[in-house]
């Protein structure tokens, strides 16, 4: 497997869910202590479901692609299900040789989305 798959390149160049939402119900952002990367995810929630989400932030291609794929996968699903998603779900979709040193880049957007749904406060 390649270090950067076509999926990662494609999602990094042309993300589908990068942006902001008007009047989001839940927002969280966090940094990757490894590199200082920051990802922010805004969500609309209703009827126990994640209705929509968008991400912004300065990050590497892996974190950006993971955020984009994650939102695609999670939109429309019950919040409970989204809370159960794990890094392996994303790794499968990234289809790349993610080294141990970059696993945090995959985990960051997942933690941010789940943090938003948990109602976590953004640290300042």
């Amino acid at each position: 497997m390649a270090l950067y798959s076509d999926v990662i390149r494609e999602r990094f160049r042309r993300p589908r869910f990068r942006g902001r939402l008007e009047a989001p119900d839940a927002v969280f952002e966090d940094v990757n202590p490894l590199c200082g990367d920051r990802i922010r995810i805004e969500c609309r929630v209703g009827d126990g479901r994640l209705l929509d989400a968008r991400f912004t932030g300065d990050s590497c291609a892996i974190a950006a692609a993971a955020a984009d794929l994650l939102i695609e996968q999670a939109r429309g699903r019950p919040v409970e299900e989204v809370q159960r998603l794990g890094v392996p779900d994303l790794l499968e979709r990234l289809a790349a040789d993610i080294r141990p040193s970059r696993m945090k880049c995959v985990a960051l957007p997942l933690g941010v989305l789940q943090g938003a749904l948990d109602g976590k406060e953004v640290a300042r």
Binding site: C35, G36, D58, S59, C60, R99, R102, C105
Partner: protein, 405 residues
């Protein structure tokens, strides 16, 4: 012959192949590689002379003590300290800076001031934050101007009769800026402040004479100067060291002990509780001797030529931004840069695919990154064993990675 070509055979690790390519190691500012002389000195010590130091009344203990204290004498001469009592062995720069910050910290009064700089490595920032927080003292930072230099006029304005400590790096681990240590020390002393210098990026690369610089404390690490990990040095001017209470207690740092009190040992052992890093000290001595043989003035000239070549090679590449001084004479052996549209970690991963090791990220200098308005950089850094060819390979690869993501 170029110093890099001359010394490369002394560094076994440089024969490694990484991802199918001969290793090009450009991450020496994080940690340098080790010559055979260092590896052999440590192996010889463990195979023939190891025992605990100082209070062992047997042959091995005496040999170990002689080698450990001999390393201190070698370091003293290498950095121009006036006396061996001024050379304290630590586990590294971070420990040395924490030792000073904790010891001075206990004497701080509410309203006292400590000045750092905006380009500090977190190692020379966080210990002072902790000291200030514990004692109600105030922490301020000399700003970075023109993306490269400390604002000395602002420094003058920050200095006051309440300034107790001025702590800053000799050479920035990101920008490479060589700060005017002697001049800043003169101004700090005129205000009655102590000067603490982080020399981690200077001692491996430049001739450093701590006595001539006039500083009170100066910390550096063995592993960045061809020595092993786990050993560092805290230089303290004798009067400044004598005025400090030890930061940590234990064996070796005392003369006489009662249940409720103790009398401290003499310098420098007062600051070395516990069994010290003996083998690393032996390795550090071998590293010092290796650098001494090359001559630090020649090392500095060699690395300055590499820095100049790197600046010249990267500057014309489309999309490349370079940080810090553009004049290699004002710069240590480090070049931080970014490639437009490529996150530093992706850049480093793509270079690694070609066997080229560089650092990527915030380099433990987040306030500086904030000032520069970037999340991080790529960073190439050089040592004695790097060659002009290493720089050319880096530049060639940097020119190609932009199309790969």
């Amino acid at each position: 012959m170029n110093m890099g070509e001359l010394t490369r055979p002394d560094f076994p690790i440089l024969r490694r192949v990484v991802n199918g390519h001969a290793l090009v190691f450009l991450d020496s500012a994080a940690s340098s590689q080790k010559p055979t002389a260092v590896l052999e000195a440590m192996a010889r010590y463990y195979e023939q002379s190891h025992a605990n130091v100082h209070r062992s009344i047997h042959t091995l203990g005496e040999e170990a003590t002689e080698q450990y204290e001999g390393a201190r004498d070698a370091v003293r001469a290498f950095i121009g300290a006036a006396a061996r009592e001024e050379v304290v062995f630590t586990r590294g720069t971070t420990e040395g800076l924490n030792l000073v910050a904790q010891a001075i910290g206990r004497t701080l009064q509410p309203g006292d001031e400590i000045i750092v700089s905006e380009m500090e490595h977190h190692s020379n920032l966080i210990p002072w934050q902790m000291a200030c927080r514990d004692r109600g003292a105030r922490l301020s930072a000399v700003p970075v101007v023109d993306g490269a230099y400390l604002d000395l006029a602002a420094f003058d304005r920050l200095l006051s009769p309440r300034t107790r400590v001025v702590a800053f790096g000799h050479v920035s681990n990101v920008l490479g800026t060589i700060n005017p240590v002697a001049e800043m020390t003169r101004r700090a002393h005129a205000a009655g402040a102590l000067v603490v210098v982080d020399g981690a990026q200077a001692v491996p690369h430049l001739p450093v004479d701590v006595s001539a610089l006039g500083v009170d404390f100066y910390a550096f690490s063995g592993h960045k100067m061809l020595g092993p990990t786990g050993i560092g040095v805290l230089y303290g001017r004798r009067q400044a060291l004598e005025a400090l209470e030890p930061a940590w207690g234990g064996g070796e740092m005392i003369k006489e002990v009662w249940i409720d009190h103790a009398q401290w040992n003499d310098l420098p052992w007062r600051f070395e509780p516990g069994t010290p890093p003996i083998a690393p000290a032996v390795g550090l001595r071998a590293a010092v001797e290796y650098l001494d043989k090359l001559g630090m003035a020649r090392v500095a000239a060699h690395e300055q030529a590499l820095t100049a070549r790197c600046l010249d090679a990267l500057t014309p590449i489309p999309g490349v931004s370079i940080y810090g001084p553009r004049n290699p004479e004002l710069k240590g052996a480090v070049v931080a840069f970014n490639v437009e549209g490529i996150h530093p970690h992706d850049g480093a991963a793509l270079l690694d695919q070609r066997g080229i090791a560089v650092r990527a990220g915030h380099h433990c200098a987040q306030p500086l990154m904030r000032r520069l308005g970037i999340p991080g950089t790529l960073r190439a850094s050089f040592s004695v064993y790097n060659t002009p060819g290493d720089i050319d390979q880096l530049a060639d690869a940097v020119g190609r990675i932009r199309g790969e993501l």
